[in-house]
Structure formats: structure tokens, C-alpha cells
Amino acid sequence: MKLEKVTSPHLHGRSDTGHVMRLVILATLPGLVALTWFFGWGVFINLLWAWIVALGFETLVVKIRKRPLGYYINDYSALVTATLLGLALPPLAPWWLTVVGVGFAIVIAKHLYGGLGSNPFNPAAVGYVVLLISFPAEMSSWVPARGIEAAVTPGFIDSLSSIFPVFGNLLGQPNVDIITQATPLDLFKQKQGLTTAEIWQPGSAFGHFAGVGWEWVNLGFLVGGIFLLQRRIIYWHIPVSMLGTLLLMSLIFWGGSGSESNGSPMFHLFSGATMLCAFFIATDPVTAATSTRGRLMYGAGIGLIIYVIRVWGNYPDAVAFAVLLMNFCAPLIDQYVQPRTYGHSQGQNKGHKQNKSKNSTSDQSDDS
């Protein structure tokens, strides 16, 4: 009789990293559908292309690092990165933009730092920021959302040939002329002269409260986020503190509906990548703070930075910057916000205690 030597616990729950990541990808579905509806097939094509590129880079790096491939692909983290980045790119982003962004995210931001779990910065956010800084023009050309006056949502072929000009040539449609337009957040920055009442005219890009299409896109990501919360894949702390801070800031600095308005709370909550960030990017556990209180601070920090950059900064949307900045702070937060261990009084974790005892020993040596 050969008996196994295994130490406790012998039981394991059903959760599994691959499974978690698959659910995260699944949860982006409502947002993806909304994006595709309002901005055309380009979104979908971008996403698929990002997946292919991500798998390609992942395979390449894993081969170079001489690690077992299945093990790495199975955690689905590369696909999650690709999904998040793909969803954030403009719908007709040229194919090479995706390659650069995803490549940077996977190769540099993830593997060069030691692979999944060791990367201090969110790979998708790194990829996005690199693109935004290097290719500002490409990154800000969004097609107008379906429903805006004079908007023509590009069809599948148009989208395909504009992302991959090769296909355009093959299909004999070399130059697809696609009208691009700034996003509502962009417009809002430029339209400082207008009163909010003027902005909210029917038919303008601002929709009901946060921009045509964008409202639905954000609602879609909100629904996906609630699904993740309910499946306990993510915890409420980061989304709630991030959205709460954003809400609070936009209430305080709202400034009414005049031309000096900084945008209504609804506008900030449902515009741009707010919800995508709150539930999918900021909640990336690898790069967030770990304790409960730490996560609250981390989320609040992101909300705060997003608002500050959107309103007083130079970039219309600031999600990626905010996430990266807070990634930077996460280890610090973790260091200072440790939960109180059972049986220890607050602030008396041995970490602090040891510092104290160090001081006291030096005091003693001074005395003697």
C-alpha cells in the first residue's frame, strides 16, 4: 500500500487562475457588444487581432525564456491583457498600433519584469500609455458613435480594410474614407466656451448624460463588473472607492451648467474608460494594493488622479496614467496599511514594533 505524503490542507476550492481569467474575459462581453454596436466592427476585429498578437508574443517569449508553454498560456493572462488593450484602442486603429501596444505590454511590461505576478505595472495600461505618447494622432481618431448627426458607422469590410490596408487593396477598396471625430471627453475639453445647455443639445455627441454610445458602453462594462463582483472574482473595494472618489470630486468641482462647468458627476462616471477601468483594469490584482484598506486607498487614488487629469490636465482621459501612477504607489500602500492581526493592538504589528525596538536599543546605547 503506497500512501501519499501530502501536507494539509488536503482540500482545495474550485477556483483556478485560468478560470478566473476566462471569466474576466467573458465579463467584458456586454461592453464589447456596446462598443461594436456604436463604433462598428473595428472594435471586434481589433480585439481578435490583439489576441492573436498576444498569443504570438507570449509563445515567443516563453520559448526564449525556455519555459513550458502550456503552463503559461493556460493562465490566460496574456489574453486578458490583450482584451483590455484591444477594447481601449480606437476602433479603426491600424494593425501595427495593436502590435506595438500588445507587444510592449506582454514583452516589456510583463515578461521582462519576471512574468505574471511579478510585474509592478499593469501591462495593458503600459501598452496604452506607450501608444498614447508615441502615436497621439492615431490614438485619438475615433469614429463618431452611431446616433450622432452625420455619423456613418463603418461596416465590417470598411473596418477590416482600414485596419489592414492589405485587405483594402485586395478587395479593391484602397482608400476608405472614414470620418473620425474626437470623443466626448475630448470635445468637452475643447468646448470650454459653450454652456452645458448648448452641449447637451439633441443630436450632439453628448447623448443623454455622458456622450452618445459611451453611456451604453460604460453601462455594459458596469454590468460585466457586477457579474465579476457577484462571482467573487473581484472585490468591491477598488471599484467602489474609485467611482466614489470620482463622484465626490465631480460633485465638489461641478461648477453648475455654465461654461465653466467641469462636467456633471454622471458625465464623469459614464464617459470614456471609467467603468472599464473601475472593474477590469484597476482591479488587476497583480498590480494593485493587497489589503482591504490598501485597496480602498488605491481605488480612491485612481479616481482622484483620473479627475485631476481630465479636468486640469492635458489629456482628455487619464485612466491609464492614473492606474500606472497608483501601481507605483501600491507597494508603499501595502507597506503602511497592514491589516491588524488577530490579538495585536492597532499599529502594533511587529513591523512597527521592530522599528521601535531598534530605536530603543539605540537609545540604550546612547545612554551607556
Binding site: 500512501l3 501530502v6 482540500l11 483556478d16 493587497t290 504589528n349
Partner: protein, 558 residues
């Protein structure tokens, strides 16, 4: 029952798997051909044998007695002959062997003379504690801490609450459950004895709400009690590890036991159900601890259930009763699946702490999956009942950062396994913590040694200085020393003249008499008093240190 509960952080809900072993009542086990009785079935010093090989013994006869304060005696579970006292496999996480008394039953099952106490109310608590000590009772929930130690609090300890841990939160285990279903009255009697010993204000019997039958039986037994009592059955929500000693205390009272201190420190004593029942048997029936109820369960058994096994019964023999399918068995766990350990063979015997034997097959417990990298998802921190940061502890353990691990309070980890259970990357976290705790213990022992060396050096310096000072003083004092000696001699002679025989007799007495007028007697009495006091203090501090050092290991794993 509407007692306010205070809850505790974290916790998980693993599949309970308790029904398998609940379909049949407690089963008796036929006598095996030999019994193997380890001298150490408890935390503390091993028992000291008082018989030798070849001797015939009766059922209940003491074979080895407690040695030192923290220890527990071992008794013969049946009558028979001591074959030998030798090394034998014992149930141990690392498959160690230990000194065991091997007893061959004579099939007569002849008891020694037993004497139970019918009415405990007029008996001194210390006497009861003594009987418990002589009966070899040690915590039967899994930790095996000698019960008499927990019941001898220092005189100034004000015990407010006695908690009976009948939570049994580990999956699969039902031995306390059936004990309460079938022998509730005995458990309640045990609680009464404990209350009499501790003089505590309230006694709480905590049971998880997944044991409605046991709760009903206990409430029924309580209702039938026709004497005043302070016992309350408290039903707590099912959530692992609600039966962890610290978690249970927090849940019931809102009090956290300060790190490194025993529950006594906050006026609480916790006892396990089976232990409580054993106390009842020992006091009221004069039976030492020689058997216990063991849950036999797992898919490799055709007849899972609860079996009343004599201590020392080879596990193999017990598994046969439950119709073990040898080919199915892939993992044999003593204790529950969360905190129990895998046995290397079934040759080891049942001991006082064997509450469950889980004979699992491959399907039930597949080989552990390869670990993925930590994604810092925080699931582990979310479920940790001690509010630790398991992922940080894991990083420090991996990186060999012992100081960091210590700073993040690794010592407060109760090894409940909740973190490993939820980790999506299948990291065997607890395994890392155990290893690091071991390294820390080793390092701190080394440190202590070097501290000792330094202390010794400093002490020597001090002694030399003192000697020198003493020499100087002596030289100075030499002049009048002789004069003083003269005076002293004179005084002594005078006192001796006053002395009478009565006085000297009393000086050996208890010191409660002030009848004598003699100075010498008074002085002698004072000396005796002082000595007694010093001894008592030494003993008390001894207890305290013993308790505080061994307490971290006494997590009742019910």
C-alpha cells in the same frame, strides 16, 4: 437562542461531507490482537512507565504516569500482558517512531477497581483536577494539551467564561456530533464538573448550525437537568474555521486573545466536547481515558461511520471494521482534510487526539495540481481568520526573508489552510509557512544561545566585580568582625535558653498557629512561610511560562 455573536474575519465554506459517517450509530470495535500505546500522545513531557515487560495488567490500570507538570498518564485499555516497551510507528506528520507500550489483550477485559464520585459538589476542585490528571486526559480535539494544566489557573486568574468547543467545523469529522447525539447527558455532566472546578460565571457550549440533531439532544439534556446551572447552548453559523480556539472566543465574546498569551489571560477556558465527556467518565465513573470515538470516513471505506476505539488500536484494524478497500486507498489522513496530516502507514495506533481517519481514494483527493505564480488576487487575505497577508508571507517565505515574515506576524498563523484552499494558483501556502516557522524557530534558538553566551559573559564580569568589592569590604570589616561574632554568639545562647520543645514542634506545622511566644519559633515560622511563598511563586511562574510557550500549538482543531 439569541445570544449576540461577534463573528470573526475571513473563513470559508468547504463541502461538508459529514453525512457519509452519520448513517449509523456509534459502533463498537472487536479487540485487536495487540494494542500499541505511545508514551507521548499529548503536548509536553512523555509519560514515565511504571510497569515492565511481562507484567499482567488490568483494564484501566495506570501503565505510565505523568512526568512533570505538562504531561499525561497512559492506562491499559483492556486487561492483558505487556509484551514489550519498544519503538513503534506513531501517528505523526513526519512518520516518526516513538516509545510505546505494546499490550497483548487476554480477552477477559477485566477492570481494576473503579470508584466514581456521585456528588461532586462537596469535593475540592483541586482534588477533581488531580483525578483528571491521573486519568490521563488531554485535549481530544486534535491538539492534545494536558487538560489538568488548563484547569489549574493561577490563583488570581478570574475565569469568567468556560467554552465547550463542540463546533467541529472541519469537513468529514462527526465524532463530536455523534457523541452529543448519543451521550448528551454525559457531556453536560462534564460541563458541570468543569464549572465546579473553575467557578466560572458562564458556560457556553458552541455548536455549528449544521448539527441540528446534536443541538436538540444537548438542549434536551440541559432541560432535564434539575439543578441550578449556568450552561447555555450557543448555535453558531457554519463557517470554517469557526472552531479554531481563537476564532471561537472572538465569535462568542468579541474578545481577542492577545498574541502569545493563553485564553486564560482574558479569563476564558476552552475545552473540547470529547474531552469534556472523558472528564465526566473519569470523575463520575472512575474510568481513565482508554477509548475514544473516531470518525472513519472517505471513499475508500465501504462502511464509514463512528467507531468507539480503544486507544492503541492499530489503525489498520480499525479500517478493516469499516471495510477498507485496499486498492482504493491513496491517502490516509488523521484529522480533517483542512488541518489533518497524511499518515505514511496504517500501522500506527489510535491515540487520544485521533478524532478522524479519512481514507481517501484518488478521485476524492487527486494529486495536488502544479502551482501557478501568485497573481496577488488577495483571495487568501480575504479568508484569513487571523487577518494576515498570506501572499506577503508567501513572498517572504520564498525569498527566505525571515525577519519580514516575522514582522508580518507569521507566528499568528493558525495553519487553518483557508488561504491554500482558495488560492486560484494552487500554491501550497501553508506548506511554506510551516517551513518558515521551522526556520524561524531554529534561528531564534540560535539567537537565544548567543544571547546566553553574552549573558554568561556579562554575568561573569559582574561576578568578578562583586567578588572584588566583597573582598575589599571584608578587609575593611575584618577589624570589628570578631567583636560582632562575639555578640552574636551571646545572643544565640540567650535565645536557646528560652526555647521549649512545644515551639519546635509547631515550627514544622502548617504555620497557622501563633500560640508560641518564642522569638525563635516566630522566626522559624516566618522562614517556612517565606520559603513556601517563594516556591508557590516559582511554581506559578513556571505554569505561566509553560502555558504561554505551549499555547500557540493548542489550537483545538474541531
Amino acid at each position: 437562542m439569541s445570544r449576540k455573536l461577534f463573528s470573526f474575519p475571513g473563513g470559508i465554506h468547504p463541502p461538508e461531507n459529514k453525512l457519509q459517517s452519520l448513517s449509523i450509530p456509534i459502533q463498537a470495535v472487536p479487540l485487536p490482537s495487540k494494542l500499541i500505546l505511545p508514551l507521548q500522545q499529548h503536548i509536553g513531557a512523555p509519560a514515565k512507565t511504571i510497569i515492565s515487560a511481562g507484567e499482567s495488567v488490568k483494564k484501566g490500570q495506570c501503565l505510565a504516569e505523568a512526568q512533570g507538570f505538562v504531561s499525561a498518564a497512559v492506562h491499559a485499555p483492556t486487561s492483558g500482558t505487556v509484551v514489550e516497551i519498544a519503538d513503534h510507528e506513531i501517528p505523526h506528520a513526519s512518520g516518526l517512531t516513538g516509545l510505546c507500550i505494546i499490550l497483548q489483550p487476554d480477552q477477559k477485559d477485566q477492570w481494576i477497581e473503579r470508584q466514581g464520585i456521585a456528588d461532586i459538589r462537596n469535593i475540592e476542585p483541586t482534588e477533581l483536577v488531580n483525578i483528571i490528571r491521573q486519568s490521563g486526559i488531554a485535549g481530544m480535539g486534535g491538539a492534545g494539551f494536558p487538560t489538568s494544566v488548563k484547569l489549574s489557573p493561577p490563583a488570581d486568574a478570574n475565569i469568567k467564561t468556560l467554552i465547550i468547543n463542540a463546533v467541529e467545523c472541519e469537513p468529514y469529522i462527526t465524532s463530536d456530533d455523534v457523541l452529543m447525539r448519543e451521550r448528551a447527558a454525559g457531556v453536560i455532566q462534564g460541563v458541570l464538573i468543569l464549572t465546579h472546578i473553575l467557578q466560572n460565571q458562564q458556560s457556553l457550549v458552541a455548536i455549528e448550525d449544521n448539527k441540528p440533531d446534536a443541538i436538540a439532544a444537548m438542549q434536551e439534556a440541559l432541560a432535564q437537568l434539575n439543578e441550578p446551572h449556568n450552561i447555555e447552548i450557543v448555535v453558531i453559523p457554519t463557517r470554517y474555521p469557526s472552531g479554531g480556539e481563537k476564532q471561537l472566543i472572538q465569535n462568542l465574546t468579541g474578545i481577542e486573545v492577545p498574541a502569545g498569551k493563553p485564553p486564560l489571560h482574558v479569563g476564558i477556558v476552552v475545552q473540547n466536547t470529547a474531552t469534556t465527556y472523558a472528564i465526566h467518565r473519569a470523575i463520575e465513573h472512575g474510568e481513565p481515558l482508554i477509548s475514544r470515538i473516531v470518525t472513519l470516513t472517505g471513499n475508500a471505506l465501504k462502511q464509514p461511520g463512528n467507531y468507539e476505539a480503544l486507544l492503541g488500536t492499530p489503525i489498520e484494524h480499525l479500517l478493516e471494521q469499516a471495510q477498507l478497500d485496499q486498492h482504493q486507498l491513496s491517502r490516509l489522513i488523521m484529522g480533517g482534510p483542512m488541518m489533518g496530516f497524511a499518515l505514511e502507514s496504517a500501522n500506527a495506533p489510535v491515540v487520544k487526539t485521533t478524532n478522524c481517519l479519512l481514507a481517501a481514494n484518488r478521485e476524492e483527493y487527486p494529486e495536488p495540481e502544479p502551482a501557478n505564480p501568485c497573481i496577488r488576487c488577495g483571495a487568501c487575505a480575504e479568508v484569513c481568520p487571523a487577518s494576515l497577508l498570506p501572499q506577503q508571507l508567501f513572498w517572504f517565505s520564498m525569498g527566505g526573508e525571515l525577519d519580514k515574515a516575522e514582522q508580518y506576524n507569521l507566528a499568528d498563523c493558525i495553519e487553518c489552510g483557508a488561504c491554500s484552499y482558495v488560492c486560484p494558483s494552487h500554491i501550497p501556502l501553508v506548506q511554506y509557512y510551516r517551513a518558515t516557522k521551522g526556520e524561524l524557530a531554529k534561528r531564534n534558538a540560535d539567537l537565544k544561545q548567543s544571547d546566553h553566551a553574552r549573558d554568561r559573559f556579562e554575568f561573569r564580569e559582574l561576578r568578578l566585580a562583586q567578588e572584588k568589592a566583597a573582598k575589599d569590604a571584608k578587609r575593611k570589616a575584618r577589624a570589628d568582625a570578631s567583636a560582632k561574632a562575639q555578640a552574636a554568639k551571646k545572643a544565640a545562647a540567650e535565645l536557646e535558653a528560652k526555647n521549649n520543645p512545644e515551639g519546635s514542634g509547631q515550627s514544622e506545622g502548617k504555620g497557622d498557629s501563633a500560640a508560641s511566644d518564642s522569638d525563635i519559633v516566630k522566626a522559624a515560622l516566618a522562614r517556612v512561610e517565606a520559603k513556601k511563598k517563594a516556591q508557590a511563586e516559582a511554581a506559578a511562574s513556571q505554569t505561566a511560562t509553560n502555558e504561554s510557550t505551549s499555547q500557540p500549538e493548542t489550537q483545538d482543531r474541531s
